[in-house]
Amino acid sequence: MRTHKLCMLGDFGVGKTSLVARFVRSTFSAKYLTTVGVKVDSKEVALPGREPLKLVVWDIAGRGALDGVGENYLRGASALLLVADGTREASLASALNLLMQSRRSLPNAVVALAVNKLDLVDRWEVAPATLAELRNTLPVFETSALSGDGVEAAFADLAARLAP
C-alpha cells in the first residue's frame, strides 16, 4: 500500500493533537495536554476510484517545527496540514509562517490549512473575508475536532492530491 508522511504544523493549543485523535480514533478530549516531541499515528484513507493509501500522521509539538530539531521531524513528509485556531487570529499568522519555513525543505509537499474550533465560531477572531482571500493560495478547511466537522474533508483533500 502506498504510504505517505503527513505533518501537522501549527501553534500550540490550536488543536493538532485533537484533530489527529478525531481523524484516527474518532475521539475528542477537552483536556489540554501539551505535546512534547512527536506522536506518530497512521490511518488508511479510501480514495474514490483509486487504491487506498496509508497516511502516517506526525503530530509535532507546537513550536517544534521552528527549531533545528523540528526540521528533522519534517524530513520525508509529502503532505502538510497547517492548523490555526479561529479564536486566535495570531495562530493563523503562525501557521502561514510555518508554511513559509517548511517550504524551503519541502518544496513539493501538498498543503492544506485547517482553521479549527469551528464549534466556537461565535468567538472567532478570524474573519470570513480573510479565509476567502487565503483560498486563492491554498485549500482552506474550517474544522472542529470537537464535533468532527470538516476534519475528514481536510485529510481526504490532502490524500487525494498526493501523487499516486
Binding site: D122, R123, A129
Partner: protein, 521 residues
C-alpha cells in the same frame, strides 16, 4: 591532547548499569530491507509487539534515507511511552536504537504546560477583560437610561388611571343611556355606536402607551392607506361633541377638501394625532368653543384645533410636549402622554406642529402634514412596494413549523423558496445553487447557523444573509454579523420587521454591497 585514561572498571560497570536501567535501550538490527536480524532489550517497554511493532518503527522512517544517521528525539509510541529514536547506518543494513525519554519528556511537558496554559489563559483573559470593560460601560449607559425610564414609568402608572377615566366614564354614561332608551324611544343603534367610538378612543390611548413604549428610536413602520376624511370628521364629531357639550362648551368640526384624490396617511396615527389634540382641548376648556378644522389642499393636510380654554403660559410652551409634564396648563393635573405622542408622530410623518396660546384666552394647535405616499414608499413595507418576482430564497430551520411559516410568508411576497433543515444541507444547497437571500436559524442542531454563514462567506457566497435567533442580546447579534450575516432577526418574528428587513436585504443586493461582510468586532 592527552588521551583520556580509561575509567576504573568498577566505575564503568556502575555507569553501564545505571544508564542501562534508566535508558531501557532497545536495539534492533536490520538488513537493508527491514529484515530483523538481531534484537537486544525488551520491545514491550515501548509497546512494540512482534506483529505491529515493526510497522510502527518502519512508519517513522518514511521518506528518510536509511544509509545515514538519523535522530528523532521524543517520539511517543502507541503505548504512550516516549523514546529518543536513533538510526545508525551499518552497511548493508542499519540499527535502530531506542532510549527511554519518558522522565525527561514529563519534565519538559510539565514545564511547557505551565507556559502554554499561561499564554492560552492570558489570551482568554485579555479578551474577557475587554468584554468586561464593554459590559461595564454598557451597564453604565443602561443604568443612566433606566433611571430616567424608571421615573417616567412611575409617572406613567400614576397617570394611567387618570388617562382612562374620561373615556370610561363616557362609556358608562352611554351604557346608562342605552339602558334607559331601550325600553323607551329605542334609538339603541346610536348609543351602541357611541360605545364603539369610545372603545376606539380607549384603543387610541392604548396605542399612545404603545407608541410611547417604542421609544424615540424605535419608530415603527408607517402604514399608508387612503384616508376617508369625511368619515374621520364624522367620528371626531360623534366622539367629542357629547364630551364638550356636557361641559357647556360648543363644539364643531369642519372639513374643507380641495383635492380630488383622498390623502394617503397612516390612518391609526393620523387619528391618534387629532384625538389627542381634541381630548387635550376638551380637558382644559370649560366655556366657549372648541373648533377643529381639517383642510386637504395643495397636497397638504392641515389640522387646526382651537379652544377657548385656560391657555398655556409662555414658559410652559415647551414642556407641554414632554411626557407627564406637570402644571403645563395651569391648574391641571398633568397632561399625560398625549401631546408628547402628538409631537413624535408628527415628526415621524415629517410634518410641522405649531402652538399659539394666550393664558386665560385659549390655545390653538396647527398641524401640517405632507403627503405620506411618497415619503413612505420606502419604509412602508409590504403594501407600498411589492417585491420583485422570482427572487430566490433559501430557508434553513430545523423546526418544520417555522420553516413552513417562513416559506409561506416568502412565497406570499413573491419569492421562490427552497428549504433546508440543517447547516450542512444549507451549505450544500447554497453552494449548488446560490440563493439571492439566505434565511438561517442560528440555533441549529450540530453545526450552528453562524458556522454555516461563516463557511459560506469564506467560500465567497455574496448573496444576502438574514439570521434568525431566539437570543436577543447584542453579543449574539454581533457574533452573527461577524460571521457574515447582513441582518439579524429575533424570534418570535415581528412580521412588519421581517418584511422590512427582507426589503432592505434586497435593496442592499441591488446596490451590490454587503456592508457587514467585512465587519470586525
Amino acid at each position: 591532547m592527552t588521551p583520556m585514561p580509561a575509567l576504573p572498571s568498577a566505575v564503568e560497570d556502575y555507569l553501564r548499569d545505571t544508564l542501562m536501567r534508566r535508558a531501557h535501550p532497545l536495539l534492533l538490527s536490520f538488513g537493508d530491507d527491514w529484515q530483523l536480524r538481531e534484537l537486544h532489550g525488551d520491545p514491550a517497554v515501548y509497546g512494540l509487539d512482534a506483529e505491529h511493532g515493526l510497522r510502527e518503527l518502519q512508519d517513522l522512517f518514511i521518506g528518510l534515507p536509511l544509509d545515514g544517521h538519523q535522530d528523532l528525539p521524543f517520539v511517543e509510541f502507541s503505548n504512550g511511552r516516549s523514546a529518543h529514536v536513533h538510526l545508525i547506518a551499518d552497511a548493508p543494513g542499519f540499527h535502530v536504537l531506542l532510549l527511554d525519554a519518558e522522565e525527561e519528556r514529563e519534565r519538559q511537558r510539565a514545564q511547557q504546560q505551565l507556559g502554554h496554559d499561561a499564554v492560552l489563559t492570558g489570551h482568554e483573559q485579555s479578551k474577557a477583560i475587554g468584554r468586561l470593560t464593554e459590559i461595564r460601560n454598557e451597564l453604565e449607559r443602561q443604568r443612566a437610561s433606566l433611571e430616567e425610564a424608571n421615573a417616567l414609568k412611575n409617572a406613567l402608572i400614576a397617570t394611567l388611571s387618570h388617562e382612562f377615566r374620561t373615556p370610561l366614564t363616557s362609556i358608562f354614561g352611554y351604557l346608562h343611556l342605552l339602558e334607559r332608551r331601550l325600553d323607551g324611544s329605542g334609538n339603541a343603534a346610536q348609543a351602541l355606536q357611541a360605545v364603539r367610538r369610545n372603545a376606539t378612543y380607549l384603543f387610541t390611548l392604548a396605542e399612545n402607551l404603545l407608541e410611547y413604549g417604542r421609544g424615540e428610536s424605535g419608530a415603527a413602520l408607517l402604514n399608508p392607506v387612503e384616508v376617508d376624511l369625511t368619515l374621520l370628521a364624522r367620528d371626531l364629531d360623534a366622539m367629542f361633541r357629547p364630551l364638550a357639550e356636557d361641559k357647556g362648551v360648543a363644539f364643531r368640526v369642519d372639513l374643507l377638501v380641495e383635492e380630488t384624490a383622498p390623502p394617503v396617511f397612516d390612518e391609526v396615527r393620523l387619528r391618534q394625532i387629532v384625538v389627542n389634540l381634541l381630548s387635550n382641548a376638551v380637558r382644559y376648556t370649560t366655556k366657549g368653543e372648541i373648533a377643529c378644522d381639517l383642510v386637504w389642499r395643495d397636497g397638504r393636510l392641515s389640522i387646526d384645533v382651537a379652544d377657548s380654554g385656560i391657555g398655556i403660559s409662555a414658559e410652559f410652551r415647551d414642556s407641554v410636549f414632554k411626557p407627564f409634564n406637570r402644571g403645563g396648563q395651569s391648574g391641571s393635573k398633568g397632561a399625560g402622554l398625549g401631546l408628547s405622542i402628538v409631537r413624535r408622530l408628527i415628526e415621524q410623518m415629517r410634518g410641522e406642529l405649531r402652538l399659539e396660546s394666550e393664558l386665560g384666552r385659549g390655545t390653538r394647535f396647527r398641524v401640517e402634514l405632507p403627503p405620506l405616499a411618497r415619503a413612505a414608499a420606502k419604509s412602508a413595507a409590504s403594501h407600498a412596494a411589492p417585491f420583485p418576482r422570482g427572487v430566490q430564497a433559501l430557508v434553513v430551520d430545523d423546526d418544520p413549523d417555522i420553516a413552513q411559516l417562513l416559506e409561506v410568508l416568502l412565497i406570499d411576497l413573491g419569492f421562490e423558496v427552497r428549504v433546508a433543515e440543517n447547516a450542512s444541507q444549507a451549505i450544500a444547497e447554497a453552494t449548488r445553487q446560490p440563493p439571492d437571500v439566505l434565511l438561517i436559524d442560528v440555533e441549529l442542531p450540530g453545526l450552528s447557523g453562524n458556522a454555516a454563514v461563516f463557511q459560506l462567506r469564506s467560500h465567497g457566497y455574496r448573496g444576502r444573509i438574514v439570521t434568525l435567533s431566539a437570543t436577543s442580546t447584542g453579543d449574539a447579534r454581533d457574533a452573527s454579523l461577524r460571521a457574515g450575516a447582513d441582518h439579524y432577526l429575533t424570534k418570535p418574528l415581528n412580521l412588519d420587521q421581517f418584511v422590512g428587513v427582507m426589503q432592505r436585504a434586497l435593496q442592499g443586493e441591488a446596490s451590490g454591497q454587503n456592508p457587514d461582510a467585512d465587519r470586525r468586532g
